[in-house]
């Protein structure tokens, strides 16, 4: 195929210009007042009536002529004849003459001849005009008996009256074009009786995902991991981003990599939408189809942008629709969407750019880069400080920053590797690193653009071992973040000073030469997780060594793996002692050799999985007979548990953060938890 050539990557500015040159506006629609909140007016709305439409009593009291009250006061009230009553919602049945008043309710129409009103609190009921000796002076609903009212104050013309048009006057400019309608504006529109408004139609954004390996969540059937299937992350994520930006997302059926089907769906989306976003497949054939369809039915404006992540972006037109091809990797797709596409959707929707929510912090560690492209670096935030010396913040159970002591925001890059789908859920915002920057130094000040103004960075950052009890502890905290990187990497990061706490299995920090405060600890039972009912009658490590069983291990980062290796060393020593092959009590070297010997006899010892539940799930899948795991996991997954030992979980605080409110809160949750045979109960 004769492809249009794009030799150089476009600059980010050129990419923005290319997208801006596309028209993705959705036109105009009329919506009812009930649906108008947040929508954007396309035209000015003028008042077509006066509000109120009549001179209106502002209080309960008496309508009268102001000049009849001149000089009246507490000592010398003016006495007026009450000639009628006006309720709200009814036409006045009286016309006042000099010396007359009418009882009137709040909101009622001022009768002709009245130019002011006096609140009922400043009046007394007078006598009957015809018979002033009548003692029954109470005010009735009607005033046929010509009673009088004593007015104990003087009022000026207009007092306590809202004149017609005083609120809004007919012909007034009510709301201008481009107004984003707030509840307060809905009040104004209601007052004017406007029940339908012309607003910008939300731009329709079609989302087409391709790729044979992608399965949409909620579709039929399980993921076939052996075939390399993964769930389609981009479709729903981009759809949510489109709606956040004020567009209407239209998800098209997943197209696979079949060329005719992909072409059919792309064309359908282009016919129905203002903008088509494709994402998903990175296969060359998918790119070929997109190229061909765009060159036949549109125009390709740009291929490739000098930005990381996001290089393989496409911008063009497809029939009458705009088109942007997003990279396949979810993090790249979201970063490109956020940086280049969302602003264009907001503009088309008539929404302003959100108030830039920017946090300034300092780099928690050195970060090298230097690829000469603009880098959009997702980062997490953690508050440093609130700790150290002074006696401040000693109140227990503090839940918010205590203000005392300097606090500072640390910024750490979030990168779970190329192709990670979930990194952004662990990030708070983005640092833009210019193409000329080779590296960012630890401590260097950086500006973080939060993903949205309502992002709340986590109150607590924890790292370390994954553990079911810990998960329940975290549920008690307000907005914690926990990165389950394993015990050893957790300790390493704590040593670097980034997280607030590390959770480690087995030996505590002190044994690792780490200066850290232990906030709490609990025991967990570990052992072998085997099939329900233990059909293979596995009793312990001996069976793994001596019998032909398939085992699944954890990675060497994990605390359980360390415990397993120790148990194996103990077994080796025991066997040495029994058989007398060792040097008596089992020296380091002798035992070590035997431990490795035993390990090589276990089928699958080297298959280390990262997640604490993954080995057990291999047992469920029938791929293994026994897995390294926790009793808790076995019980939760309805598997059998063969005990091998217990292990202590330690929660260690960063020495600089022991006074941080969230760290103290964690300490208090741990102290309150009941420790019994079951471990830590919450």
């Amino acid at each position: 195929m004769n492809r249009k050539e794009f030799r150089d990557l476009a600059s980010p500015t050129e990419a923005r210009e290319a997208i801006d040159s596309l028209s993705i506006e959705g036109g105009v629609e009329r919506v009812s007042l009930e649906d108008a909140r947040g929508r954007v007016l396309v035209a000015r709305l003028d008042a077509e009536l006066d509000v109120p439409g009549f001179d209106r009593a502002s209080l309960d009291g008496y309508a009268l002529n102001a000049r009849d009250t001149f000089g009246a006061d507490e000592a010398d009230p003016a006495e007026l004849d009450v000639v009628g009553t006006v309720h709200a919602g009814e036409e006045p049945g009286v016309v006042l003459e000099s010396g007359q008043a009418a009882e009137i309710s709040t909101g009622a129409v001022m009768p002709d001849g009245a130019d002011a009103m006096v609140p009922v609190e400043r009046t007394d009921v007078g006598g009957d005009v015809d018979d002033r000796t009548d003692e029954n002076g109470e005010s009735g609903e009607d005033h046929e008996s010509n009673e009088t009212v004593l007015v104990r104050t003087s009022v000026a013309p207009g007092d306590n009256v809202m004149f017609a048009g005083a609120d809004v006057a007919a012909g007034e400019r009510a709301l201008g074009p481009g107004t984003r309608i707030t509840p307060r504006d809905i009040g104004l529109l209601s007052a004017l009786g406007i029940d339908e408004v012309p607003v910008r139609r939300k731009p329709r954004v079609g989302i087409v995902s391709t790729g044979d390996e992608l399965v949409r969540p909620g579709g039929d059937g399980e993921l076939e991991s052996t075939r390399g299937e993964i769930y389609d992350v981009n479709s729903y994520t981009i759809a949510a981003g489109v709606e956040d930006a004020g567009g209407e997302a239209v998800l098209y059926p997943h197209a696979g990599d079949e060329q005719d089907e992909m072409e059919r769906i792309l064309r359908e989306a282009a016919a129905e939408c203002d903008l088509v976003l494709s994402s998903g497949s990175t296969s060359a054939s998918a790119v070929d189809v997109i190229y061909r369809v765009i060159e036949e039915q549109g125009e390709l404006l740009l291929h490739g942008v000098s930005v990381k992540p996001g290089k393989p972006m496409l911008v063009g037109r497809l029939d009458s629709s705009a088109y942007v091809g997003l990279p396949g990797y979810p993090v790249s797709a979201m970063m490109v969407f956020r940086t280049f596409v969302a602003p264009a959707i907001r503009r088309a929707a008539g929404l302003p750019e959100p108030e830039s929510a920017t946090v300034t912090g300092r780099m928690a560690r050195d970060e090298r880069y230097g690829e000469g492209r603009l880098r959009l670096m997702p980062v997490g935030l953690v508050t440093d400080g609130d700790g150290g010396g002074g006696g401040n913040g000693n109140g227990a159970g503090a839940t918010a920053g205590n203000g005392a002591g300097a606090s500072d925001t640390l910024v750490y890059p979030v990168d779970k590797g190329s192709g990670a789908t979930t990194s952004l859920a662990e990030a708070d915002g983005v640092v833009e690193v210019g193409p000329e920057t080779d590296y960012l130094e630890r401590g260097e000040s950086v500006d973080v653009q939060l993903f949205s103004p309502d992002v709340r960075p986590p109150t607590l950052l924890g790292v370390g071992e994954d553990d079911p009890t810990l998960n329940r502890v975290l549920d008690r905290l307000d907005n914690p973040r926990y990165l389950s990187v394993g015990s050893r990497p957790g300790l390493r990061r704590l040593r670097e000073g980034i997280p607030d706490v590390a959770v480690v299995a087995g030996p505590s920090g002190r044994e690792h030469g780490l200066e850290a405060t232990e906030l709490g600890s609990w025991e967990r039972d570990w052992g072998l997780v085997v099939r329900a009912g233990n059909p293979d009658e596995i009793d312990g490590l001996d069976d793994l060594v001596d019998r032909d069983l398939q085992f699944v291990n954890r990675t060497s980062d994990s605390g359980l793996r360390t415990s397993l290796e120790r148990a194996l060393a103990d077994l080796a020593a025991e066997r040495d002692a029994e058989t007398g092959t060792g040097t008596g009590t089992g020296t380091e070297t002798g035992t070590k050799t035997d431990h490795h010997n035993l390990a090589t006899q276990i089928d699958g010892f080297d298959v280390g999985l990262r997640a604490h539940e993954s080995p057990a799930r291999r047992v469920i899948a029938g791929e293994a007979d026994a897995a390294l795991g926790l009793r808790d996991t076995a019980e939760r997954l309805s598997l059998e548990y063969v005990p091998l030992g217990t292990q202590t979980m330690h929660v260690l605080a960063n020495p600089d953060r022991v006074e941080k409110a969230s760290v103290r809160e964690l300490e208090s949750v741990l102290a309150d938890a009941v420790v019994d045979d079951e471990g830590l109960s919450l």
Copy 2:
């Protein structure tokens, strides 16, 4: 009725506590991933699978054994046999042995026996194993011919591979309870294949409006102003506020003041909703019904709060629902809703309080108060500064603050009088004035809580005469605010230094002794607006004076009224001259007398309406034969226009703001507008 007594007003804190004591949570519901954005998780979600579920190639290239590449470099590539191909979405058909490689695509499953991969860019196609002299070395789709690959770099185990569970590990805590789901979280949920999540149900908030005078917008028929009908402002406004706060608003049919019907609707709402809000009627009978129903079926916790506006608030329980009675006046209802009810709805919805968007400014004028209650004072904001001496900001057409010169935010109270429905649409936020504060002094610093974090205070504040041409001018500006208070009050406010510009009809500021810069001006035709076709054959002022016609005037604030009085004076002078009753040329006193004489001969001269369109609309309604108005208005409303004169509209700038970006923008719009016989055309 034996009412529970509430002798003292509750404090705002007591009111908050009373509302907090009510349960308005909506329970739990499950929503699909497509609808999950912005919802609040009720439970922790753990990963139930590894992501990816297999060891995954991160790039296009070759899967291999890292140890087969040790020592390889550009000069001395390693040569491996290519024994197969693995595409994304398919199960590997090969198992690698030492010295072998498999071609692999991004996202594909690493074959057994491979522990790393090398990107295609670092390889060359080698020769055919069987026939190395074959010159056709291109890589085909299949590798049955046993070709080889030259690897020009060494890789370490794990390079360019994302191991199973490296993104998310089974058993990991994915999202904690209370998480408000962002698009990034939707990415994580998608990756885990979770297509439905348990979230807090939005609290259902029923809105019951009462009052015989209220008509809901969009109902049948016109408003009957003579009966004192007004549109129901509270229902839709509060509904929008409920939805802003994360609740689901349910509007009940408007109940009028009929007691049985009101009781039926209140009970229906209480049965169906978590919270019932009533608002609207201030009539005693409505309050009676609410009292009775609550005392029979619930409990009244509080009546009356020491806050202004908002004193008559009710808090209680109605059957199993919470109940809050809002004041009837729309501004009061919204302020009470915003201060007391919205936070409770947000809490029930699990949403955090929005980031407090606070602006500090200084009072634009003295404001007295001193009622001993907390005052919630709606205010508008205007930016001062950017003006004066220096040569800064001289670039034309600047649209944003130019940064040079000190700028400062002025805060002015917005108060259109008791019962105004629309004040809040002209306000940007609220200043809380403590009960102990008697007055705020001009220049005093105050904190303004913006109505929401995305409130954008207007760029330009204008005041003065209402004018159709001006409305079109304003449409050209970004987010202006214009208060049509009339020419004279506009000049007065400009003199006080609050607005950026004033628009006055007739004499310019200079003639009023005001130091102001004229930004532009245009002419407008004014005269009598009469019925279409002019059936009464009205030719001018003479007809009004001499014939039995009903006239409608404007208020004396208006520039047109001033022009009319001058025209009447001229007519009087003319008649004096004709009849010789004056002193020849018409002295001040002589003319003045005659002008008043003529005015008294015009039926309706004293009926002055505030809005420029209102008199013309009286003609349409058949209530008048002629109205003071503009040619523009007559034409727009399809009425006839009888010319009396032209009038100059002046746009005057506050001398301190002539360099403010929005003022310069207005000047530029005025300069670009075409002035022709039709006035200013845009």
